[in-house]
């Protein structure tokens, strides 16, 4: 269609007038202008509404406890003298908070690496190796993606108790890995399937073992999928509270757990909760701004979980 409309004027005989849509009247032009203006205002308003909660947290974390209990964070915009980094200084000398931040890293990194590694091997088998029951196994794994964490926490708490990792970081990681695998396998298997069969066959004919094919051909081609998956799993674990509440003790707890403890007295602990919450969300935010494409893909892929 667009092809025709762009070609016609060139062939127009001299003296004729091109036929196009009727020229809009002044009234309809005004309406359109007004609609544009309204749209712009709505977009600005919505953006503001969506930014305020996080902005408020950021600003509140930079005000003293006294200021926060007396006035709202927005008053700091008029009186910038309220801004101070004292809360952050105090927070970083707070042993238990620093420890829980570190615990978050200790939980998140292995949970992410293990899920991607173990998931990639399984996904390769499901994508490119022939064995009986393969499709059923895949469908069963896909079904497990939406299983609520709650359905497995009590038996796992007992199991971990029996083998001595209940309350330890290892237990938290084990649970996260188990619940991360179905989605990881699903995403990676679908991605691996898109790799042209010829590439794999060529590598096999060259005498490569399956492991070599996997490592030399499949993994290098799967960067985007691995990145999206890793980002999703990272966020999932970093932001988790429930699994930590069940499987961690307070000295092995991540920052979400530690901050939740402080929430009982929200107003009086805001000078700890504010900067703590902001620090804990700054890492995901950096990931979000740094690799937006993979981030969005990862979140969309993981949304079914």
């Amino acid at each position: 269609m667009t092809f025709v409309t762009t070609e016609v004027p060139k062939l127009r005989p001299a003296g004729t007038v091109p036929i196009g849509p009727p020229k809009p009247s002044l009234g309809s032009r005004l309406t359109r202008r007004l609609a544009e203006l309204v749209t712009r205002v709505v977009v600005l308003g919505v953006t503001a509404v969506w930014l305020f909660p996080t902005l408020g947290l950021a600003i509140a974390s930079l005000r003293t406890a006294a200021d926060n209990s007396a006035t709202g964070w927005w008053t700091a915009l008029a009186r910038p003298s309220q801004f101070t980094i004292d809360n952050y200084v105090a927070l970083l000398s707070n042993q238990s908070i620093v420890r829980s931040l570190w615990n978050t890293v200790l939980i998140t990194v292995p949970s992410t690496v293990l899920v991607v590694m173990i998931g990639a091997f399984a996904a390769y088998a499901l994508a490119w190796l022939e064995f009986p029951g393969r499709d059923w196994l895949f469908v069963a794994l896909v079904g497990l993606i939406v299983v609520p964490v709650q359905v497995a926490i009590i038996p796992n708490a007992r199991l971990f108790g029996a083998i001595g990792i209940y309350g330890h970081i290892a237990g938290v990681v084990a649970f996260h890995v188990a619940f991360g695998l179905p989605l990881a396998i699903f995403l990676l298997r679908n991605f691996f399937r898109v790799i042209p069969r010829d590439l794999l066959e060529a590598a096999r004919l060259d005498g490569g073992s399956e492991f070599a094919v996997f490592r030399r051909v499949v993994l290098p081609l799967s960067g985007p999928a691995l990145a999206s998956l890793a980002i999703f799993q990272f966020l999932w674990v970093w932001n988790d509270l429930l699994v930590a509440l069940v499987f961690a003790t307070s000295e092995n707890a991540p920052i979400t757990y530690a901050l939740r403890e402080q929430m009982r007295a929200f107003s009086s602990n805001l000078d700890v909760i504010g900067p703590g919450a902001f620090l804990s969300m700054s890492v995901p935010l950096v990931v979000f701004f740094a690799c937006q494409r993979y981030f969005v893909q990862g979140v969309l892929a993981g949304s079914t979980k």
Binding site: L57, F131, G143, V147, P148, Q150, L181, E210, L241, T304
Partner: protein, 436 residues
């Protein structure tokens, strides 16, 4: 050839077993088997020692705690996905026609990056009940006070022996009153901070025609003075709305000056009464108790919407971009309004995407946990309860693994249709998923 294929197949099987082993071992041991165990435990007593059949399920549907949780979950499941999907569609349509959409999209999608804990903390600051601290109530109060200015003297009242009447609605009445005789309206219960800047020393109204009098703060710091009389150092109350009534009808209305005096010179005779309308003394509007028992679930859903609207927008935007432009263009040339285009063309064409978004959200909403635990204050936790949270409390606070397991099973059964739907999508799109 045949042996080669056979060898290849055997090799494949061995490699597959090797590659799959770690994943299957972990998933079977820590996900699949525990599901079966949870089913089994849900048929047992609180400590797991006795078989009790379906007793836990009966408990679940009859105990008030779990009933609240189930009701709330129902509200969540109906409201949250609907609102998020509709907002997502609106935002997606908006992004189609504005320049500089990237900032808009980023602002909306950003909450997906942060934890429900961080979202909960942020929204505690939004929902704080005190309008001096909570953003939402501050905005509501600002809007409210613009249209209806706050009362000048909230909480002001009269001394018991002053001879003034306090009406049931909070108005203060003096009477009967004769024209020409100044009326005294001494009030108490006004903090210094509430006095307007222009309030001046109280002055008795001079004798003169009409109904006249003085409204003042009948209180001296440190005591002293005569109750009911204007003493030196007492302050008049400017800006009080004074109504003069006769036979129950308002015949005049005026305001006090900075010394607290008022006068309606044109009135003559007697049988009047003077009323200080309740509007002078009403407590100021302070917004709503968002996180109180009544509003906590809607407030929580509000914050959930904030987190997930960006997700819906991005998915629906992708769906919109696959709509043929010509359909929309030709409708526009035919003179269809934007609303008609949205309803008749856009929505039907992206319906499959809307369904995907809504179902995804339903599954997600069923499992909501952190947000309720973090954002609902201790006092409203019971009213805000949802299944995921109740399961946690039953199992790990009350240590009732039987009931906890039953709740987990219920949650599992509720997401089961979602699971089936995913498997069905997978089979239907069998070729589509991997692009073959």
């Amino acid at each position: 050839m045949r042996t080669m294929v056979g060898r290849r197949a055997r090799l494949d099987r061995r490699t597959a077993a090797l590659f799959l082993a770690p994943a299957l071992l972990i998933v079977c041991l820590l996900v699949a088997y525990p599901i079966v165990q949870t089913f089994w435990m849900s048929l047992h007593s609180a400590d797991g020692s006795r078989f009790v059949g379906l007793a836990n399920y009966v408990d679940m549907f009859t105990s008030p705690d779990t009933r609240t949780a189930i009701t709330n979950n129902a509200i969540w499941v109906v409201v949250a996905p609907t609102v998020v999907t509709v907002l997502g569609l609106m935002f997606a349509v908006l992004t189609e026609r504005v320049r500089l959409v990237n900032a808009f999209r980023m602002a909306l999608f950003m909450p997906m990056a942060i934890s429900f804990l961080a979202a909960g903390v942020s929204f505690r600051l939004v929902y704080d009940e005190d309008p001096n601290r909570g953003l939402l109530n501050a905005m509501m109060v600002a809007v409210h006070d613009t249209f209806r200015p706050p009362a000048p003297y909230p909480g002001a009242t009269v001394r018991e022996d002053s001879g003034l009447l306090k009406g049931a609605d909070g108005a203060i009445i003096a009477g009967p009153v004769q024209a020409g005789e100044p009326v005294s309206l001494p009030l108490v219960g006004i903090p210094v901070a509430h006095l307007p800047k222009d309030a001046a020393a109280a002055a008795a109204a001079p004798a003169g025609p009409g109904v006249r009098g003085t409204v003042w703060r009948d209180f001296l710091r440190g005591g002293g003075g005569t109750p009911g009389a204007v003493d030196a150092g007492e302050v008049g109350l400017p800006g009080v709305t004074v109504q003069v009534l006769r036979g129950g009808e308002v015949v005049a209305e005026t305001r006090t000056d900075q010394h607290g005096r008022f006068a309606v010179p044109e009135l003559a005779g007697g049988g009047y009464s003077v009323r200080l309308a309740a509007g002078n003394f009403t407590e100021p509007f302070r917004g709503l108790t968002w996180l109180g028992p009544g509003l906590v679930t809607p407030a929580l859903i509000g914050s959930y919407i904030w987190v997930w609207a960006g997700f819906a927008m991005v998915v629906i935007s992708a769906g919109l971009s696959s709509i043929p432009r010509e359909a929309v263009e030709s409708a526009r040339i035919d003179g269809a309004s934007e609303w008609q285009i949205l309803r008749r063309i856009t929505v039907p064409l992206v319906r499959p995407v809307l369904i995907v978004v809504a179902v995804t959200l339903v599954i997600n909403v069923l499992k909501v946990f952190d947000l309720v635990l973090v954002l609902a204050p201790e006092s409203a936790q019971a009213e805000a309860n949802v299944l995921g949270l109740e399961m946690y409390h039953a199992s790990f606070t009350q240590l009732n693994t039987g009931l906890g397991s039953a709740l987990a099973v219920l949650l599992f059964l509720l997401v089961l249709p979602g699971m089936a739907w995913r498997a069905w999508l997978l089979r239907r799109n069998g070729r589509g998923w991997d692009g073959r």
